[in-house]
Symmetry: C2
Subunit: 445 residues, 2 copies
């Protein structure tokens, strides 16, 4: 008997289970998912909320039943792993009708991450939501439909906060975004964050930065250190945290980031136990360190590798360079590699160079400005990171991500032969302009 158990049935978990079964059709592959939903695109929740006509289940990529019938996976929804004995190779499982022990030969932990809830009075009031799981999205849609909410307050201006601002403005609500840090999208370079904030404001969102929420009062009212903001709907988007309680209790090693430490084959410190996705770390190819950058792409890729290796392969995850993208109303925003502060913190002698250029060819209608920040090592000119905002920034950042993977310098970047046609790009793409500007700034320092 060979049994592969996977804990968690979203991106990493279902990728792992599918890959394991594909590699070893003879193996018994069991997935334990505590919730009712599997294999859904959580990143699509804000866009689903924006459209009242769409069912939340549209976000399910592959229905649970298809995993069972078509892929031969023993998928157990409503089954929660509540204990793990890595010496005895047993998972303790709780389901509606009781508890049971489940032995395994290989285990994949894909427990994901959970939304951080505010440790404040009123954080659990009706009308206060996080945006993480499918049922969160369903609850927000139901609330909108049932209460005809008119005023939304979003606490936190990270990706999810910005996406929810767009979604709720799209539903016609008055939206206020409250951010504790002194800029929106903390972690982005200030020049990029300022443009995100302008875009929020341009679309009628009220934005307050440097503000602390102290309580949420029934009614609803969000109390801050600057006064109260009345709301019919409150979205808490202050970040996520890896679900590591099960692993930690089992004695599995966590990394400095607090997520589960893994090697590049997704192996944890426990024998035959793998971890993948938002609960696990990943090798950051630019810093060289293990990092926790929980994103859907990485979850899918790591899950696939954990599943393959649980089935006996020895595949390696290529690592990350920290690429991420999101949309803020009419602009795309992308980042890859290190920010300036992060680079300096890691000991790089780095500069940040900012440039701005059009997204389309001369005299071609439409398009936007594209602002780019390149983070560059001073002595070598090596690219360490990049951030962009504007039309197609979510694609242009991929060029810079590829350059990071290849260890390119700004000279290499400037020499890239990129596509040009007036609807697509200017003669000198913003990526090339950014390289030229950075090269000149390096020469001047």
């Amino acid at each position: 008997m060979s049994r592969i158990v996977v804990i968690g049935g979203v991106a990493a978990g279902m990728s792992a289970a599918s890959q394991a079964k594909r590699r070893r059709p003879d193996a018994e592959v069991i997935v334990l998912e505590r919730g009712p939903d599997v294999s859904y695109g959580a990143c699509g929740i804000p866009y689903n909320i924006e459209d009242p006509a769409r069912e939340i289940d549209d976000l399910v990529v592959i229905a649970a039943e298809r995993f069972r019938t078509e892929r031969g996976i023993d998928l157990r929804t409503g089954h929660e792993a509540i204990g793990l004995d890595v010496a005895g190779r047993t998972v303790r499982v709780r389901e509606r009708s009781g508890e049971y022990d489940l032995g395994y030969d290989r285990l994949v932990i894909a427990t994901g991450a959970a939304a951080v809830r505010l440790p404040l009075p009123g954080a659990d009031l009706p009308g206060v939501f996080v945006v993480r799981e499918l049922r969160d999205g369903a609850a927000i849609k139901q609330h909108l439909a049932a209460t005809r909410a008119r005023r939304a307050v979003i606490i936190g201006a990270g990706y999810v906060g910005v996406e929810m601002a767009e979604a709720l403005r799209g539903r016609g609500l008055e939206v206020t975004v409250l951010e504790k840090a002194d800029q929106v999208v903390p972690g982005f370079e200030p020049a990029i964050a300022a443009i995100v904030q302008d875009e929020l404001v341009r679309h009628g969102t009220r934005v307050e930065t440097g503000v602390s929420v102290t309580a949420i009062e029934p009614g609803l009212a969000v109390q801050t250190d600057r006064g109260a903001v009345p709301a019919d709907l409150v979205v808490v988007a202050v970040g996520i945290r890896p679900n590591v309680a099960l692993a930690r209790a089992a004695g599995i090693g966590l990394g400095d980031t607090g997520a589960i430490a893994v090697d590049d084959e997704q192996r944890t410190s426990a024998p035959d136990v793998f971890a993948a996705g938002d609960c696990a770390e990943a090798r950051h190819l630019i810093s060289g360190h293990l990092a926790w950058v929980p994103l859907g792409t990485t979850a899918n890729k790591q899950g696939k590798i954990a599943g393959a290796n649980a089935a006996g392969a020895a595949e390696r995850f290529a690592g990350i360079v920290g690429t991420a993208g999101f949309k803020a109303f009419d602009l795309e925003v992308g980042r890859t590699g290190l920010g300036l502060a992060e680079a300096r913190h890691l000991g790089f002698d780095a500069i940040a160079s900012r440039s701005r250029h059009k997204s389309r060819g001369h005299s071609y209608p439409g398009g936007t400005d594209v602002t780019t920040v390149l983070v560059v090592e001073r002595a070598t000119g090596r690219l360490l990171g990049a951030q962009m905002i504007g039309e197609d920034a979510g694609k242009r950042i991929d060029v810079l991500a590829t350059a990071l993977h290849a260890g390119m310098t700004v000279d290499d970047l400037e020499g890239l032969d990129l596509a040009y046609a007036p609807p697509l790009a200017p003669v000198y793409d913003p990526v090339l302009i950014a390289a030229t500007v950075a090269r000149k700034e390096l020469a001047a320092t």
Copy 2:
């Protein structure tokens, strides 16, 4: 005295002149442009034609007068270089009022390329146009305005033919495209070309491939080996040819492609004579050979380097990988590197792998399929070329162009950390899917 003379005042020429003057403000920089217009974006002509309200001069990036007053360049429009004595360092110039000799210390040849005219009866009839210079665009707009042309025939289905089909459909004309080869966009992989053709047809364009035009008759009627097609407007878009007569007559070496041979500092075979842009070759980094791929980006970059080096620098052009993009109605099309036939012709043992994936995330509205062809070296998995069609293909191809510059294999490609958010891309971007499919096909061969 130090005098730098530039022959040609469009992309490469004005880039060279501007760069030379910037490097050597004390030098006398003279530009000889035989036409009336300088520094215009020829690639924008179809889009300008599409909009009757726009002036053709919108395509001028920097007005002639500004080069004279702001940049201190002696820009001579209506002055044609008709002879060149490289031993005597003299250009023979013809202008409206006569001819004169102009000595130089350094010379940049940026004579560009000219549209190929059909060697057929009726090719010069009124109502028959090419699309190359600003005045060609002006003439077409004038013809459309004056004649209320209803039926257009486009001879040639390369980039320009496809762009003109879109422009003239946009103006409400009936459009027929006639292509001699057995597919549209010859040089593209058949799988990509078929989708371009479908897109043309979907937007009401009549397309005939494998058809030969034999004459254009007054009236107008385009005679083919399959019968006559009546037209009120005929656009001949059968390619361009480098303007090398002046250089050839002066004994300057041409390459195998027929364009002017240059080294990576843009030097020709004649002392202190540089060449840049559509009249010159460029090093193709994947084939290793000198190639003639006349495009606006390369013209601007080579011009800048020729100008810098004419001013005494020793900069090197990084070379090309053959990246190009264009728009075909609602789809973007991109290519980079070698096509399959080209790769095999050069002696590579290559395969072409085709894949198709969505352009946006699961359940995010809109988007298109993206079809990708990767050309890959069989033994090593090294990427040799790529072609894509679909939403954002003009940007996604830049990722593959960057991978080509870096010498990446399909394994490297598959490991790229690219941006994901539902409006921007699926969890696995089409680039990553293409790499996975190619890797599997390699493993199966």
